[in-house]
């Protein structure tokens, strides 16, 4: 437990002594808020629950930006050789994996918390259902955590950050596109019912949208957490295979 905190602290120091974390948080805030007022037509639609105008854009941003935060987690250690230090320290590999993952997740939590002006705005302009906004934010954050876990798994496979970025963005983009409504509707026209169901269950939208609508479904939580834990176990397996 204590070691998780030690690792987490070190990762945070390295995120915030370099410009990476600041740049990504800033880009996220700028784009998500700009989209909210332009394409999201937040004011015109009177979308007080932020469902379509604001949260809708998050998966699209995460699929590009979450891998940028996670790509250095293991690639950098392998390239610098510091993996050899970690591997010979008397700490369980699991503490290292969790510490690193939680650090990246914390960077995104900070980014999401910094969007608070929009919540103040909707509460000032209208009468939103704040429980539903919270549920939407939860969906948004869990989606981001899924993408981070995937990136972490990819970064354990390669010592090259650029390769890790490209591969993770590709996987996350597929997950966003494969459940996207326009695409699913097209498939449904051809009566591929089985495929429609499978892709809907696999993609992020079904699970993300139910949370932004304020529904708390058991199956969505299973989806989010099973992907996260599978990726963390995969990371552990790959790292121990590399040492054999």
């Amino acid at each position: 437990m204590k070691h998780i905190w030690t690792i987490l602290k070190r990762e945070l120091v390295s995120y915030f002594t370099q410009p990476t974390a600041y740049a990504i948080i800033l880009i996220f805030l700028l784009i998500s808020l700009t989209f909210n007022f332009t394409f999201g037509s937040f004011i015109l639609a009177g979308d007080a629950n932020l469902e379509w105008s604001f949260l809708f854009w998050h998966p699209w941003l995460y699929m590009l930006l979450a891998p940028a935060v996670g790509m250095r987690l293991w690639s950098d250690e392998q390239r610098n050789g510091t993996l050899e230090l970690l591997g010979t320290f008397p700490i369980p590999p699991w503490s290292t994996i969790l510490g690193k993952y939680l650090a990246a997740a914390l960077v995104w939590l900070i980014a999401l918390v910094l969007t608070f002006p929009i919540i103040i705005t909707v509460n000032y302009l209208g009468e939103p259902d704040n429980g539903r906004i919270f549920s939407g934010y939860l969906g948004s954050y869990l989606t981001c955590c899924v993408f981070l876990a995937i990136t972490m798994l990819v970064s354990a496979c390669t010592r090259d950050q650029v390769v890790c970025l490209i591969v993770s963005v590709a996987i996350c983009t597929l997950m966003v596109l494969c459940g996207y409504e326009a695409f699913i509707r097209e498939l449904a026209r051809f009566r591929f019912d089985f495929l429609v169901e499978a892709l809907t269950a696999l993609g992020v939208w079904d699970h993300f949208r139910s949370l932004t609508r304020g529904l708390f479904r058991y199956q969505d939580m299973v989806w989010f957490f099973s992907i996260i834990f599978t990726c963390l176990f995969g990371t552990s397996a790959i790292l121990s295979a590399k040492r054999a």
Binding site: V13, T88, R243
Partner: protein
């Protein structure tokens, strides 16, 4: 106390370390000699628990690195060959992180960091970022990390590599001084270091021990009484190695 028992490692069909056995007792400094590619680093990586042996075992202070890795790793200070460091930290920040990993807290942590900085002559760069250090300082920072928790066993992979003659001299003196109470295993291909700091030396070639004894004993084995000649008689040329 290091006890290495029939340690073997092969990468595919190629044996990097082949059935190696030796012990290092407290108060002993064992020089680990051999040409490039002889398997020195691989042996050290197995003793420190970074890579798992194909067969055989290594015991550190009685704890098997395979069955009780955390107890064994606790007793070891390790300087990897490339002296890997976290480039985004300062020297003090890095050492404090390592102290946390070693479960040092409060006053003990503060004293350990100060002692390591003094021992390795790092006070002039203590608050400098690691990526701005010259090679000699990087090497000494990594050495400081190995000495931090005052371990009973020191494993140093080419500790004088890349240092200037003054620094080389300092490190040899340091090894000799620490060797009075600790078990030290250090690798080198500089034969002068055997006379300067070892109580005993083994020569390895292609993963096997080809000579073992005190520096005087080894010199007697050579027809001309020089370590250089013995080394050249017993070990294969890099080029012969490649064609074999």
């Amino acid at each position: 106390m290091i006890e290495v028992e029939n340690l073997t490692k092969h990468f595919g069909p190629k044996y990097a370390v082949n059935d190696l056995s030796f012990t290092v007792k407290p108060g002993e400094v064992l020089g680990f000699l051999g040409p490039n590619g002889a398997g020195k680093s691989t042996t050290m990586r197995m003793i420190t628990g970074f890579i798992t042996p194909s067969s055989g075992d290594a015991k550190v202070c009685g704890h098997s690195i395979i069955d009780q890795p955390f107890l064994a790793k606790d007793k070891i200070g390790y300087l990897p060959e490339s002296a890997p460091l976290y480039n985004d930290m300062t020297v003090v920040g890095f050492l404090k992180f390592c102290a946390d990993v070693r479960n040092l807290t409060g006053l003990a942590k503060k004293e350990a960091v100060e002692r390591a900085i003094d021992t390795c002559f790092l006070s002039s760069v203590a608050h400098q970022s690691i990526d701005t250090l010259s090679k000699g300082y990087r090497h000494r920072t990594c050495l400081a990390q190995a000495l931090l928790h005052d371990p009973e066993v020191l494993i140093l992979d080419e500790p004088t590599d890349g240092l200037d003659p003054n620094q080389k001299h300092e490190v040899r003196q340091l090894i000799k001084r620490l060797g009075a109470t600790k078990s030290i295993l250090f690798s080198t291909h500089i034969l002068e270091e055997v006379d300067a700091s070892c109580t005993r030396a083994v020569i390895v070639d292609r993963g096997k021990i080809v000579a073992d004894g005190t520096p005087e004993e080894l010199k007697k084995q050579s027809s001309t009484g020089s370590l250089h000649d013995l080394f050249r008689q017993l070990t294969t040329l890099d080029t012969a190695h490649a064609s074999a």
